[in-house]
């Protein structure tokens, strides 16, 4: 058994949770170290919220061990709750309270808290201090929820899909805030079903599907382990692709793009392969509509591992 290093704030081992017949979480083990942002990425129903709530002490696992900053549920629950900040996936705080009243309520629960003006400045909500929650936009509300999780300056922050339902602009804004939170030295445990969010924020990512973690590592590690190289994307007629494939065997793995417009192929050495490809295109006189090279993304990793797109139901 590996001894957790001094910098480990969260350590979970062999978590299992069953709801009647459904195995919602199946043997999940993970670790988050100090100052790290860890993202649990998975499609709807993967078991992210269930995992998150077990780690927060809201649901007890059927089996498995959880340790937060060296403390354990349920014995040291009270102490753990002072160290963690939580934003649940679906919460509605009192809509008749103002931002200030909401933050004051939550800071009253903790022995030591940040000053509210300072927190509000960090959340960029200064001008909304006396606005009721019912009059805030979705993005602003989400920032208040984040504020409630931050009032006591926790060591570890749990955020369950913090940006779901937000428009791209509000999402980027929240990411900016979370980067600052991380820069303050706090650890973050984040769940999301947005690849981009995991890519933008996380130091390490775990991909979850059907209750299991199917891959875990840094973005680089995931891509290099499961989906090495780059992708060539190009547009030509199907018959032309066939003649290209006759001379370039590596083109045999080319797949139609989900949009239907053109093809893509995973290659290990993009520069050489591009040169070869272009030579053949010239030689055969292929009418090439479009050509580009892109790096592998989490999306490709997920597709490779599960055979599905993350947003497919």
């Amino acid at each position: 058994m590996r001894v957790p290093n001094a910098g480990t704030v969260l350590k979970a081992q062999g978590l299992v949770k069953k709801f009647a017949q459904l195995l919602a979480v199946d043997q999940v083990s993970l670790e988050v170290s100090k100052g790290e942002c860890f993202a649990l990425l998975g499609p709807n129903g993967a078991g992210k919220t269930t995992t998150c709530e077990m780690l927060e002490g809201l649901t007890s696992p059927d089996t498995g061990d959880i340790e937060i900053c060296g403390l354990k549920f349920p014995k040291q629950r009270g102490d753990i709750l002072k160290l963690i900040g939580v934003a649940l996936q679906e919460t509605n705080l009192y809509k008749k309270y103002t931002v200030k009243e909401t933050l004051e309520l939550f800071s009253s629960f903790y022995p030591k808290t940040l000053s509210i003006p300072g927190l509000v400045a960090k959340l960029k909500l200064e001008d909304k201090l006396d606005t009721r929650l019912e009059h805030l936009s979705g993005g602003q509300k989400q920032r208040v929820y984040l504020g409630c999780a931050l009032v006591h300056n926790p060591d570890l922050l749990f955020l369950d899909e913090p940006t779901s339902g937000l428009d791209p602009q509000a999402r980027r804004y929240l990411w900016e805030l979370l980067r600052e939170v991380k820069a303050d030295g706090r650890s973050i445990f984040l769940t999301t079903h947005y690849m981009e969010e995991a890519q933008e924020l996380a130091d390490r990512i775990a991909i979850m599907d059907h209750g299991k973690i199917i891959a875990m590592g840094t973005l680089q590690e995931l891509v290099s382990t499961h989906c090495q190289g780059d992708f060539l994307e190009f547009q030509c007629a199907e018959s032309e692709l066939e003649s290209l494939q006759n001379s370039l065997s590596w083109l045999k793995t080319a797949k139609k793009l989900p949009t239907g417009e053109g093809f893509e192929v995973n290659v290990d050495n993009a520069t050489t392969k591009t040169r070869e490809f272009m030579r053949e295109v010239d030689a055969l006189g292929v009418n090439l509509g479009h050509f580009s090279i892109r790096q592998s993304t989490l999306e490709d990793v997920f597709l490779k591992l599960t055979g599905r797109n993350i947003r497919d139901d």
Binding site: L58, L81, V86, N92, Y94, K96, E101, Y110
Partner: protein, 347 residues
């Protein structure tokens, strides 16, 4: 030491009440509206006036008798044939139908189980005897007293106060808890070190502030508009009110202890409120209930509260002689709290 999270949550309870216009309406304006409507409807302490039907027949004395009856201030008469009056009787427009039969005897058709019709019969009977020259062997004297505290409105105001405490505590508390549960707020609280009992206690203490508003508004309105007077000790009255509020609030917490569905809660709420509202003697005395019903109704919390408030306010009774009522209220407070604690679901 007073806990700052409890203070903050009690402040929150008050804020929720203050900022919810419908809560204010139900708590303050509804009872005053009832008071106005019923108070004005029954404030005429004039003699009761009965509508009766006089059936046209063929007896010789009929027109004189009918004329005599028509002149009486106690009666409002309608003359007509049998079919016409039968319809009016059915519709409740007349209480009874009177005819003189062939022998000149007055025959009255009415429903004896309707107390007003029975009184109309008595009044008509007396008037007919009078017309034919009856003198009372031993006349009696009716001395009309108008004691403050014995009008219908005096009976009604304590009832409305208790009812308002009951409905607002039961609905307000339970509904807030159910809505908080549905919105995952209770779950969110469980992820903080806040002691869950503080959340529950905040509801009870918060209710006391709302109680203060109801108490002042309803009694104040009664005093200003109808000259209502409290005979007993104000402190006793407040004590009864506080204990009543505590028992209704814990009943609300119990009813809202499991469900996350506001319609379900509405159903539970109505199931409790409607019968108690009718049976607990808010609007009229329970004296007319059959014994078996009266003895059950006695044990309802709203009955205990209505009775205790009435006895302090109208009869000037002290707390010492309200042992039964206060005991019932205390019992509900404790029992509901214990059951609520056992069955409470945070998420």
């Amino acid at each position: 030491m007073i806990n700052k999270s409890l203070v903050e949550m009690v402040k929150g309870r008050w804020r929720e009440f203050k900022r919810e216009p419908s809560a204010m309406f139900f708590v303050v304006f509804m009872p005053i509206l009832w008071m106005l409507i019923l108070g004005l409807a029954f404030s005429d302490s004039k003699q009761e006036r009965y509508s009766i039907g006089l059936k046209n027949g063929s007896h010789a004395e009929e027109s004189q008798v009918f004329d005599y009856l028509a002149k009486q201030s106690q009666l409002k008469v309608f003359e007509g044939d049998e079919a016409e009056l039968a319809t009016k009787l059915k519709r409740g427009e007349v209480l009874l139908m009177l005819e003189l039969d062939a022998k000149g005897q007055a025959v009255m058709h009415f429903d004896p189980s309707n107390p007003e019709a029975a009184r109309a019969h008595d009044a008509s009977h007396h008037l007919i005897q009078e017309y034919y020259g009856r003198t009372d062997p031993r006349p009696t004297i009716a001395n009309h007293v108008k004691a403050v505290g014995s009008r219908y409105i005096d009976f009604l105001i304590p009832g409305l106060l208790a009812l308002s405490l009951f409905t607002s505590s039961l609905f307000g508390t339970g509904m807030t808890i159910v809505a908080n549960r549905r919105e995952n707020l209770l779950k969110r609280y469980m992820a903080t070190p806040m002691n869950p009992y503080e959340y529950i206690v905040s509801h009870i203490i918060g209710r006391y502030f709302i109680f203060a508003v109801e108490f002042c508004c309803i009694l104040g309105a009664g005093m200003l508009m109808f000259g209502f007077q409290v005979q007993g000790n104000w402190l006793s009255l407040i004590t009864v009110g506080l204990l009543g509020t505590a028992s209704f609030t814990s009943l609300g917490i119990l009813c809202g202890s499991r469900t996350a569905n506001t319609s379900t809660y509405n159903g539970i709420n109505n199931l409790l409120t409607l019968p108690m509202m009718m049976l607990s003697g808010v609007w009229f005395s329970r004296a007319h209930f059959p014994d078996w019903l009266a003895s059950i109704v006695e044990f309802l919390p709203l009955t205990a509260c209505v009775d205790a408030i009435r006895r302090v306010a109208l009869e000037g009774v002290g707390l010492a002689s309200l042992g039964f009522e206060l005991g019932i209220l205390a019992f509900y407070t404790v029992a509901c709290t214990v059951f609520a604690k056992m069955s409470f679901k945070w998420y």
